[in-house]
Amino acid sequence: MDPLLLARLQFATTTSIHFLFVLVTLGLVTLLLYLQTAWTITRKPVYERLTRFWGTLYVINYVLGIASGILMEFQFGLNWSGLSRHVGNVFGAPLAMETLVAFFLESTFLGMWIFGWHRLHRGVHLALLWGVALTAYASAFWVMVANSWLQNPVGYEVRNGIAHLTDFSALLTNPTLGMALGHVLAAALLTGGMLMAGISSWHLIRRTPDFELFRKSLRIGLVTATVGVIFVQGFGFAQFGVVGPVQPTKYGSEAAKDAAIADWTARFGPGDYTPPVLANVGLGFMILIGLGLGLLVFLVPLLYRDWLIRLRFPLYLLLLAVPLPFVASILGWLTREVGRQPWMAYGLLPVERAVSGVDGGVMLVSFLGFSLLLGALTVANWTLIARHAARGAHDPALGRPPGAEPAGPDGDPFRDPTDHPDNSRFAPVPA
């Protein structure tokens, strides 16, 4: 099979999965900052319980963010070796910054945060979460710098067919960066808020005994999602204005498009320089979802006197709307990435020169194998998130006091209640 096609399919699959998890990470970590800060300041137990419950879901979700992220990082070299060969001098720098500035600290802090409950000073523990959140935002920033450079290469000069960095600040002021970053971060806030509101609605629909807690997270989630959707729309429409001029084959007028294609034909030879139509279909549906979710604004007044909960049907709406931001995000990325075809770096490096010189068979095995692995892990991860979300907030695993493990029969903190010493593999539990 054609290695180019397979490499593109693999990138699309892995990145889409990565982004579904990353959206939740970025959204929930922001909400957790609020919850844990409120707990540290007010010392109200409800905030501690909220932090632990939503923190458990956050940490489970994080797992696949890492697993898929590692694959993404190596995929550049595995499948797109031409990328580093031709433009690595420029494109590599933001990715190196991302790993050193953001991921390295993010993971270190997160490990300490998870195991630091009841062990570290409250202030230190809170500072760790702030560290996790800031580095998560930093990673979104740097990866968007890298992506925006592919959308619109700037700050380089080509010598002997290789791009060299001339002006790093141009990468940071890239017109395709600002609005896209704002749009992505707003989308994450919207997604995190919707998830929180949706799960809370589910518990309220089932008349949970934990009414106060889920009432609170419903309100926080709904307000966050509403703020998120307003910014999503603002940054979203603003993107047309900035992306249009630099990517004429995406949103430009017919005249601009023809001019660009004539220019490329002169420089790179004749070829098909128009992106597949798939890109525009996604755009339409994303905007539809974005405008639809804008209706959240009308639910906010119902927070007054808990009408939202008493009327009940808004709870069903919120629950059903949970998948929408995820779908919109994938459609948005399809628009952005498919719309820049057939370029790896727009107007500079065609995709077929960027793909690795490995055999199609190798690429096929890799695509199938990794998609299967990632797919299975994704399903397992979401199942676990759903189970823990449904279980409610009476005893989340995260931040459980060391003595209060659902301890083993002899009080051994490492023994699960289901673990039988004489039957240490897994024989069914005798009644």
Partner: protein, 335 residues
């Protein structure tokens, strides 16, 4: 400047093998742990360090891309099957360690634990194969095209992969001897001591197979390093065994950590001044200087990233200090 970044790259990968190495070692030894309780105890001994360990790999890849873009694509795509094997292992271990205790019931956890073991084998074997590949060279032409994958099917690659598996097993057992409480530590120490001869055998076997292999001999531009460093490696393992016998797990851990860092130094110095050697076209081989990014990029990284390195290390040291010592009932249990 290239040399500085090459050293940083090597240091990051070696540190990953040391830190990730004990994760994988513990993963391997789960099969021998004392029931579900023993497995859980071993994983919580990794506890707070686990996330900070594998991130050294992520940073290695970042530095490789940023500072050595010419090398990044050629190296990873040149050893595609080996890298993919290692990655599949790394992803499996990462996900399974963190998710296993979120599963309800013993059966579910048992399955996740099995996955941890499988992933650990793949990760250790895969990185060993990549290291062996670097010594063997790749059949890559000047356009970066690599013919097939059969160049990786050699006894030397297999022997080196296996060596890494045995090294992480010794290292993981030593880590447990250092971290577990009481009698569990004793048992881990005994396991580690029993594993040392196995590891020494695989190191010796890999060295002999390498010396017999024509391409490996041809690529050994610094033969002195190629002879001296395996000897050091074996010495480190024997020191570890002696220290374990004297109940000095700290010293033993330092020795096994050295044993895991040495392979990186061994490969890098043996093929110096090359970073990646082509077996079909000498002109396609990359020296360290060829592989490096152009000066403006290195200067930028020097200004933006290099000053951060002490801070990164500082926060990791802080994490090791905060959670030092043997695990006990006072530490939160999460994995």
């Amino acid at each position: 400047m290239e040399l500085f970044w090459y050293a940083v790259l090597g240091a990051f990968f070696a540190t990953y093998l040391v830190l990730g190495g004990y994760d994988y070692g513990v993963g391997l030894l789960l099969t021998r742990a004392d029931g579900a309780t023993g497995r859980r105890r071993a994983l919580n001994a990794l506890g707070p360090f686990f996330l900070g360990n594998e991130v050294w790999l992520v940073a290695t890849a970042g530095i490789l891309f940023g500072a050595f873009p010419m090398l990044e694509g050629e190296l990873l795509s040149g050893f595609y099957p080996a890298v993919a094997t290692a990655l599949a292992g790394v992803m499996t271990v990462t996900a399974s360690v963190q998710l296993r205790s979120r599963a309800a019931g013993e059966r579910g956890r048992y399955r996740w634990d099995r996955l941890i073991t499988v992933g650990s084998v793949l990760a250790a074997f895969g990185w060993g194969a990549v290291l062996a590949g670097l010594l063997q060279g790749v059949p890559m032409d000047a356009d970066g095209h690599v013919a097939g994958v059969t160049h990786l099917l050699t006894p030397f690659v297999a022997a080196t992969g296996l060596t890494l598996v045995t090294l992480v097993a010794v290292h993981g057992a030593t880590f447990l001897a250092l971290r577990l409480p009481g009698s569990a530590a004793e048992a881990a120490g005994r396991t580690a001591r029993r594993l040392v001869p196995v590891a020494v055998t695989t190191v010796a076997a890999a060295t002999v197979v390498g010396l017999l292999a024509e391409p490996v001999r041809a690529n050994a531009h610094q033969p002195a390093a190629a002879v001296l460093l395996p000897v050091l490696l074996v010495t480190a393992l024997l020191v570890a065994r002696a220290a374990l016998a004297r109940r000095r797990p700290g010293v033993a851990f330092a020795a096994t950590a050295t044993a895991l860092a040495l392979p990186v130094l061994l490969i890098a110095t043996t093929i110096w001044p090359y970073a990646l050697i082509s077996t079909v076209d000498p002109a396609a081989s990359l020296t360290v200087a060829d592989a490096a990014a152009s000066p403006p990029t290195l200067r930028l990284l020097g200004w933006l990233a290099a000053p951060l390195l002490p801070a990164l290390l500082g926060f990791q040291l802080m994490s090791w200090w905060m959670f030092r010592g043997r695990i006990d009932g006072r530490a939160p249990v999460y994995w």
